[in-house]
Amino acid sequence: MGRPKNQPEGGQAPIVQRVRLRYTKRGPLRFTSHRDFARAFERAIHRAGVPIAYSQGFSPHPKVSYASAAPTGVASEAEYLEIGLREPVDLNDLMRALDAALSPGLDVVEAVESPGGSLADRIDAGRWRVELPGLADDVLRLAVEAFVAADEVMIERLTKQGMRTVDVRAAVVSAVAVPAPTGVGVVPCAILDLVVRQVSPTVRPDDVLAGLRVVADLEPPAPPRATRLAQGLLTTQGEILDPFAADRPTAIGAPSA
């Protein structure tokens, strides 16, 4: 018989293990949006036979929570999520099963058991690397120097509230033009290394580029390619603390470079 509206019988099995995962968006799959990834990850859970726990209620959802996702089009070596399981699993097996169930490029690279608390409390900044093909090193260096020297850099950007003016300078902890690889056959490509604090509204690599346009009329000749290299808590030295560092005894896989 069809079940009457209201509530399902019984309840969902409780969570017995929480696991945090680091995953990547590489190559062409950097164009995966967060929604796309979330759908793919849910399917990967089913394919991999992960004993995922579900939320209570009439429309149960798998227990997956995400830390701030990189924007569509930006590659990442450091995306984080946490899952709740109804049966304990071996972390190494979990990582391998999920990685095999996701498209190549969406790679699960590290797993730790959650010590409790919120994953978001381990992250307040990120390091980005922005490649600017066709741009000369010194052009970028001058623009970055002007940006760093400014007290504030206001840009126009579209937010959910409509167009608004945002200061992109305040969120930037450091911005450095790093020397690009040189050699025969290498297309000139300037590289920008950024450490940006997570603020609201979010300041993304393209916002910083918009800021470079404001302060130095910087116009990249080709679309930039950004990669998020790390996320974590910002130390007073301006370093980013690996969010799994404290849980490393149980960590599986190589620590992030």
């Binding site: 062409p28 796309d36 399917r43 859970i45 394919r47 004993p51 169930a101």
Partner: protein, 645 residues
């Protein structure tokens, strides 16, 4: 010679467009093979946006069948949205496959699947972006053979100048046969060039090569005859029928996209063909006879398809799913197998009777209830006799009330407008029916919390159906009736509030009618529309009726015909129809008789449970009805617990 990926050029454009993920490939189930190792290379296109094209069953099946051949490579391409099209033109990026981003122009065969004629302009965009000449006669050995398939290819005459060949019917075996011909011709060093290859294809009698046929016209514009212009091709080209569906359990490895698409489910065809005999239904006519897939094969496909894909929804597809001889056991078996999982099962295309409610109940055992849709198609008893949709008003109301009393609060009712012999009164009866459904539903449930949605589609007469001779109603007539219906539904405010009303206006249907029953002269209209910017004609935000009307007015007068001549004009028995030389197996005399029966409101039974009514398909195609029951049952799944490492 190897072919370079266009991805580096494309990648620079992707940050500038919407939903770039649809162009990067990388789906689960996608196959990338080494170019040089393949003897025959196909690129398959569904000529609509990725989100619509990716789930298409036909393309997925052929993609897998072809890639299972060790020396064959098959990739996919979809219509690019105008934002990317503009950038591709600006930067000289050609139409590409999403699998390995190879240029479409480099493949041996370019197969395009037309579920609907509204994809024709998108084909021209793809050809043009691929730098393949638009006209078949301008192509040479360096260009792919452009091949049309899908239901619309049962009358490919409007695109006859643009395609090199068309295949009618089921594709599984046809693509392998075509592959073998191309493989051999290439191995021989391409003797006789493109013409020889097309000739070899035409000689199979199941590949239609339009250039080998001439069309002569009468002074009044009608076709005089269509005849081969060379001795060694057949007078008629026959459709293909895949028998024994258990031998073709595809898709085994369904494509699982990263981008969001219109259907996110594992779909399995539980049978092909339909002999219900609804006279408007081209699918039912051209896919005969009924061939069931057995309950055990369906069970196996569902199990493996879900394991492979990670989908949580299963669609049991066919033209009338409740008609499968073992549908009861299939639904209860699957429901039991997946009772404690989060997998939901759905049964689209169902008929109007209480049995369907039982099936739907069965499928919603784990609490996941899918919507219920019934399709009486016609508003009045009289019009339902004309279209041979044998449903009485009492049946419908009883069925819907049963749904309400079993906990459904919403049902959808599907109808058509513009059917042959239709009057305002026939359409207005839809309102009476909807009112009675709500009234009876409220009485039976004691609740005001029940709704129904009336959804109306425009009727388009299709080739190879008894209505192929029918004149269409004008868009003004259709729109007038739709307005009257809306007023009638809302005439009673209490009932009207519980009734949702969805409809399409009459204009797109008229153009679909032009393209469905057009002949080679309509190709000039398609080209003109495309040159005037026509793209994505199946999308209301892109479709422009004025563009079609203006283009038709510009190019058709030279032939002494016009838009009305192709659409609203009723044809006579003696007229040579543009698709008469294309054999769907249906006997034209039988179709005419069924058309006459429609006019006399005389119904035709289903040959699965009454004697053969001689539609002609089985004897002419050497096929037979393949139905169960097999008597087998689905056993509970033995699922190995634990991670799949």
């Amino acid at each position: 010679m190897s072919v370079a990926s266009v991805y580096p050029q494309l990648e620079a454009l992707l940050p500038r467009i919407s939903k770039p993920i649809q162009y990067v490939g990388g789906e689960l189930g996608a196959v990338v093979k080494e170019w040089d190792a393949a003897a025959v290379r196909w690129v398959l296109m569904y000529p609509d946006a990725y989100e619509v094209g990716l789930p298409n069953q036909g393309v997925q099946i052929l993609y897998e069948v072809l890639n299972e051949q060790p020396d064959v490579l098959a990739e996919r391409t979809y219509a690019v949205w105008p934002d990317l099209e503009a950038l591709m033109r600006e930067h000289g990026v050609p139409q590409f496959s999403v699998d390995a981003h190879r240029p479409v122009g480099a493949f041996d065969l370019f197969g395009i699947s037309f579920s609907t004629e509204l994809g024709y302009t998108n084909m021209l965009t793809a050809l043009d972006l691929a730098k393949i000449p638009l006209l078949s006669r301008d192509r040479d050995e360096t260009h792919p053979v452009v091949l049309a398939g899908g239901h619309a290819s049962f009358n490919p005459e409007p695109i006859a100048d643009f395609i090199d060949a068309a295949v009618l019917g089921d594709g599984e075996e046809a693509v392998l046969e075509i592959t073998a011909i191309v493989r051999e011709w290439k191995a021989e060093g391409c003797p006789g060039g493109r013409d020889e290859l097309l000739l070899r294809l035409a000689r199979t009698e199941s590949v239609y090569v339009p250039r080998f046929y001439d069309v002569d016209y009468l002074p009044d514009g009608r076709i005089q005859r269509v005849v081969p212009n060379r001795a060694d091709v057949p007078f008629r080209v026959h459709k293909r029928t895949t028998m024994n569906l258990d031998d073709w359990p595809y898709p085994k490895k369904p494509l699982v996209p990263l981008a969001e698409t219109v259907h996110e489910r594992y779909a399995v065809e539980i049978f092909r063909g339909c002999t219900r005999g609804c006279r408007f239904c081209q699918a039912g006519m051209i896919t005969r006879p009924v061939r069931e897939r057995s309950i055990t094969t369906v069970g196996q496909m569902v199990k493996e398809g879900l394991e492979f894909s990670g989908f949580t929804e299963v669609g049991l597809l066919s033209l009338s799913s409740a008609d499968h001889s073992e549908i009861g056991d299939m639904c209860s078996g699957l429901a039991q197998q997946y009772a404690d999982t989060n997998v939901s099962l759905s049964l689209p295309s169902t008929r109007v009777d209480a049995f369907n409610i039982e099936l739907a109940q069965e499928l919603s055992r784990n609490g996941r209830r899918t919507g219920l849709t019934f399709a009486p198609e016609g508003g009045s008893e009289r019009i339902r006799k004309v279209i041979n949709k044998m449903v009485s008003k009492e049946d419908l109301i009883r069925t819907v009330v049963t749904a309400y009393t079993n906990g459904w609060r919403q049902v959808k009712l599907y109808f058509m407008c513009g059917l042959p012999t239709e009057t305002d009164e026939d359409v207005l009866e839809i309102a009476d029916m909807a009112h009675e459904v709500i009234r009876a539903g409220r009485a039976a449930t004691g609740s005001k919390d029940i709704r129904c949605t009336v959804s109306i589609g425009g009727f388009v007469p299709k080739p190879h159906t008894p209505f192929q001779w029918a004149g269409m109603d004008t868009p003004e007539t259709i729109d007038h009736r739709l307005r009257l219906l809306k007023q009638a539904i809302n005439a009673d405010r209490s009932l009207g509030r519980a009734i949702g009303y969805r409809y399409h206006d009459g204009e797109p249907s008229l153009i679909e009618g032009l393209l469905s029953r057009g002949d080679r002269r309509v190709g000039a209209v398609i080209r003109k529309v495309w040159e005037n910017g026509g793209r994505f004609d199946g999308w209301s935000e892109h479709f422009s009726f004025a563009r079609w009307v203006d283009s038709a007015a510009e190019v058709l007068p030279q032939f002494g015909v016009d838009l009305d001549w192709f659409t609203t004009r009723e044809r006579e028995e003696a007229e040579v129809l543009p698709w008469d030389h294309l054999d769907s197996g249906l006997d034209k005399e039988w179709l005419w008789q069924d058309w006459q029966d429609a006019m006399s409101e005389y119904e035709q039974d289903d040959c699965r449970w009454t004697p053969c009514f001689d539609c002609g398909v089985c004897p002419s195609m050497d096929t037979e009805i393949q139905i169960g029951p097999t008597g087998k049952k689905l056993l509970p799944l033995t699922v190995k617990p634990g991670l799949k490492v």
